[in-house]
């Protein structure tokens, strides 16, 4: 059997989709030839505006010559099909080329509508449709100060974005009373206008341009029907599209009253073996100006040629979600009150500039439409509700109200979706397809994209696809076990909740309450840490001794030879000369290795158990306190001298650093915590690299949270600006306690923040707006901790009973004879078996 010869007129997104589909059906059966009047093969017109943010024509390409050649597809560029001969089944091009067809597909797309305004054909007047158009616009931009877009619809705003990117003063002129008149209602449109104006773009609504004439201050002057005018150097027309049906008109293929090639449910036109798909096609008197319906038509036409008459095009959803000038906008279903009896819920936040409106049926059970501006998180859920005609929850307002805390929008998880629900409309991937992919071994978004193409088109479904993926993985038992160890079937946070709620004071009580076995080196220190954070008792109480790592038990960090470090606290790194002398004397007397740390204090190494209390007695007598270098707790508050000494200092950073260090010292937390306080924006204290960072500005303190050094450095996120001392204390109290309460064992604030659903914004909700209604409690807990602070070393040296444990042998005054040292650079170092100390020796 000879191959069927298919000619595709137009190689845009939809034409290409058709070719891809038909050769996918059976490449041996078809010979395909495609024509394009453009100089390029199909490219992604949806992403066209990225051309201005640096993407090249190659980046936007959907295919290339090599792919077509490999698959035996002939293509002819720069040659427009100008005539059709139905009797002999030929197409004729502008260059006179004649090609025969068995089946003909018209995918000629649309052209931009340029309103018939006198003067609209001048040099710097453009349309916004092809890569060539964009290149022309770029060229005009180079010699322009002001640019105007005529048309405030979806494409017009994209064109506006292009002008902003070109660096010209941008104006948008719209005939209708609001922007995006088709997709948005008045509320959404006016908020969008405000947000766009905040970006410095001028928006003029209800303006009808009557003529474009020579300007006085700029190249052109636009005169409006209301008598006003606007001067500009360049103009982009983006006043809608019209189906490209020129070829059909000329050859007598039936077209609609207002244009568009009439098609049936199989995408067949009125002429035998001629199909039309995409924006040139008119189905039920409707032109679909989006890519997803065009793709559906391409699939339907390919199926029909392949002998499948069951697949039909029966209309398409016109919902859209996109980012325009950085502003999220979405529209679903019918939003212009054409549905009888429809009622609506509106959420309008003028502070955060968010507008959401949900339109429901007269009986309140089904969704009619929705408009979202500024926050489109609900899009996925709402779209599925609409597409699947699902029943709304009892109180539909929860669907658009900001979530308070982690709870899901009531009962609207992805589990509720039917398998037929379309998740990715660009590539027609259903929930069932994702389930199959997961069943076949797909475990993450990367694999899902590779195997189903979901979320690789416009990307709008990414969040939803991820939710479906996660929910499927979960249902297949991929859940990550959060149990802390074999003794407790709970996470650290759950244990913390149990301890707090049941007022459990000891590990034994907890073990009886909800554990098994004796515990271990994982759960014991974790529980000890929680107990200390909630009740802040002296850590060497008998009940706690067996729980702690040796560091906590002996109030020093064990070094590799079994000796300990001694690190007195120096709040803010400030120390008097007398203090420094005492430290020097102690170090000398006990022959301790001495080093200044990165945290602006002094480390003394090599103290043996029996020496610790004697050393600390001397330090405490001189006014020092423990530095908690051994605990999962506040370590240091690094600071500069600020406005006390520095010529540039704006605020008293050293004074505030000392206040903060004294406030939070001793507080146990899931991991160590560091602060930095800088007296001006020169940031000498490196505050942004700390868990809590403060930088002084003329307006007050800027508070950063979640910074980290170490293995994975991270700058803190700016939490709030221009704070007073008192505000800083209040917010830090709350954040610190919230972290202590909810973080996992050994989780630094940076990781905790990154894992916090909703991130820094959610944290702001909790801390600044008290969305969980827990701030009073958090503050009270912090106050109680601050009030119960004690220097553990002071308490220890005052208790003969506790001191008994600070000797090497319980039954002898001998000391550990297993220790050996070597002197390097005038100080001692441990001489243990494996240390390669020789290379340090001069």
């Amino acid at each position: 059997m000879s191959k069927q010869r298919i000619v595709v007129v137009g190689n845009g997104m939809v034409g290409h989709k058709f070719i891809d589909t038909i050769i996918g059906n059976d490449e041996t059966k078809y010979e395909v030839i495609t024509f394009s009047e453009e100089s390029r093969l199909a490219y992604d017109r949806v992403q066209l505006s990225y051309f201005f943010s640096g993407k090249t024509a190659e980046d936007l390409a959907l295919t290339d010559a090599a792919y077509y050649e490999e698959n035996g597809i002939k293509f002819v560029l720069n040659d427009k099909v100008v005539d059709l001969d139905f009797d002999n089944r030929n197409v004729i091009t502008a260059s006179g080329r004649v090609e025969s067809y068995d089946k003909l597909v018209l995918a000629t797309g649309s052209y931009p509508f340029v309103p018939p305004i006198p003067g609209n054909d001048q040099e710097h007047c453009h349309v916004y449709r092809t890569i060539d158009d964009l290149e022309d616009i770029t060229k005009s931009g180079e010699t322009s100060k002001i640019g105007v877009v005529i048309g405030g619809g979806l494409l017009g705003l994209e064109a506006g974005n292009a002008l902003v990117n070109l660096g010209v003063e941008t104006h948008i002129v719209e005939f209708a009373p609001r922007l995006m008149a088709v997709q948005l209602d008045d509320g959404g449109g006016s908020l969008l206008k405000r947000k766009i104006e905040d970006l410095g773009v001028h928006v003029h609504t209800e303006k009808a341009t009557t003529e474009i004439v020579a300007g006085t201050t700029s190249r052109y002057r636009m005169n409006f029907a209301d008598g006003s005018h606007l001067e500009t150097d360049m103009i982009i027309f983006s006043a809608g599209i019209r189906p490209q049906d020129e070829l059909a008109r000329k050859t007598g293929i039936p077209i609609g009253e207002r244009g568009g090639i009439v098609i049936n449910n199989h995408c067949e036109t009125g002429v035998e073996d001629v199909y039309a798909i995409g924006e040139c096609a008119l189905w039920e008197n409707f032109i679909f100006g989006l890519v997803a319906p065009g793709y559906q038509m391409a699939k339907v036409a390919a199926a029909h040629m392949h002998g499948d008459s069951d697949t039909e095009f029966t209309g398409a959803d016109m919902s859209t979600k996109l980012k325009l000038l950085g502003i999220d906008v979405a529209s679903i279903g019918e939003v212009h009150g054409k549905t009888p009896g429809a009622q609506s819920y509106t959420y309008h936040d003028e502070i955060e500039q968010v507008y959401k409106r949900l339109i429901v049926s007269a009986d309140g059970t089904k969704m009619v439409g929705a408009v979202l501006v500024g926050d489109v998180e609900a899009y996925g859920t709402l779209l599925q509700l609409k597409l699947n005609d699902m029943k709304l929850p009892a109180n539909p307002s929860v669907l658009i109200l900001p979530s308070s805390g982690g709870e899901e929008a009531a009962g609207m998880g992805v589990d509720a979706l039917p398998d037929t629900a379309a998740i990715c409309s660009c590539f027609d991937v259903s929930k069932g397809d994702i389930k199959n992919a997961v069943a076949a071994g797909c475990c993450n978004m990367g694999e899902l994209k590779a195997s189903t193409k979901a979320a690789t088109g416009c990307g709008g479904c990414t969040a939803l696809a991820k939710q479906v993926l996660d929910s499927e993985l979960l249902s297949l038992g991929f859940e990550v076990k959060k149990d802390i160890c074999e003794h407790f079937a709970y996470s650290r946070q759950e244990l913390a909740d149990i301890i707090r709620v049941k007022k459990i004071k000891t590990f034994s009580e907890l073990l009886v309450d909800c554990g098994s076995g004796l515990g271990c080196e994982t759960c014991k220190p974790a529980v000890a840490n929680i107990l200390a954070a909630y009740w802040n008792e002296y850590v060497l109480e008998d009940a706690h001794v067996g729980l702690q790592d040796t560091n906590d038990n002996y109030l020093g960090n064990m070094q590799k030879d079994g000796t300990y470090s001694v690190v007195p606290r120096m709040p803010g790194g400030e120390v008097t000369p007398d203090g420094l002398i005492v430290i020097g004397q102690v170090a000398k007397e006990f022959n301790l290795y001495t080093k200044v740390t990165g945290g602006a204090r002094v480390d003394l190494f090599g103290a043996q158990l029996h020496e610790l209390p004697v050393i600390w007695k001397k330090l405490v007598d001189a006014g020092f306190e423990t530095g908690h270098a051994y605990g999962k707790s506040l370590r240091t508050v690094k600071s500069c001298v600020g406005n006390t000494w520095c010529r540039y200092g704006v605020k008293n950073s050293i004074g505030f650093a000392i206040d903060l260090e004294n406030r939070y010292k001793g507080l146990r937390s899931p991991h160590k915590v560091k602060f930095g306080v800088s007296g001006c924006t020169r940031e000498c204290a490196e505050a942004q690299g700390k868990d809590f960072g403060l930088i002084a500005t003329e307006g007050g303190w800027n508070l950063y949270f979640g910074g980290n050094g170490g293995m994975r450095p991270r700058h803190g996120d700016l939490f709030a600006s221009d704070l007073t001392d008192e505000q800083v204390r209040t917010y830090v109290d709350r954040i610190y306690m919230f972290y202590i309460r909810t973080a996992d064992r050994l989780q630094r604030t940076s990781v905790w923040l990154e894992n916090l659903e909703g991130g820094i914004e959610y944290l702001r909700e909790v801390i600044l707006n008290d969305s969980l209604n827990i701030n009073a409690e958090l503050e009270a807990e912090m106050e109680s901790n601050v009030a119960n602070y004690q220097c553990e070393w002071k308490t220890t040296i005052e208790s003969p009973e506790k001191l008994k444990r600070f000797k090497h042998f319980i039954n002898s005054k001998e000391v550990d004879t297993g220790l050996a040292f070597k002197v390097i650079r005038g100080q001692r170092f441990p001489l243990a078996k494996e240390i390669e100390i020789t290379e340090l020796v001069e």
Binding site: C520, E521, D542, I810, E814
Partner: protein
């Protein structure tokens, strides 16, 4: 009281009150460092060598007592290797085994004896 270094007699080490429940202490016995642990839940006392063969330091008495299934162990404070308190076997490496000692409470005294 016999304090000669006999392998066959029990030696008094310290009063029972010197032990901290669920924690360890170190005793000097026959010129050896011995780590002694009192497990409150089982009321058992255990005694093993204090030397950590991984970290090469005398520190096991300062480790944390734990259990896994029915085994009671101490985890070294240096690098967390676990040693079965009843047998001296290391749970994390078959190559290392530490010495164990006989231990008992008699007349409120903790007593040690070389294991036979």
């Amino acid at each position: 009281m016999d304090i000669t270094s006999s392998n066959t007699t029990w030696t008094d080490i310290c009063p029972i009150n010197d032990l901290t429940p669920d924690a360890g202490i170190c005793a000097l016995y026959n010129e050896q460092q011995v780590a002694i642990f009192l497990c409150k839940q089982s009321s058992n006392v255990y005694a093993v060598a204090n030397f950590d063969p991984f970290g090469h330091a005398n520190v096991l008495s300062r480790g944390i007592i734990g259990s896994t299934e029915d085994i009671i162990y101490v985890a070294s404070p240096l690098y967390k290797q676990r040693f079965n308190l009843a047998t001296g076997e290391c749970l994390d490496s078959e190559e290392h085994k530490i010495k164990i000692f006989n231990v008992r409470i008699e007349n409120e005294q903790v007593q040690l004896k070389e294991a036979s």
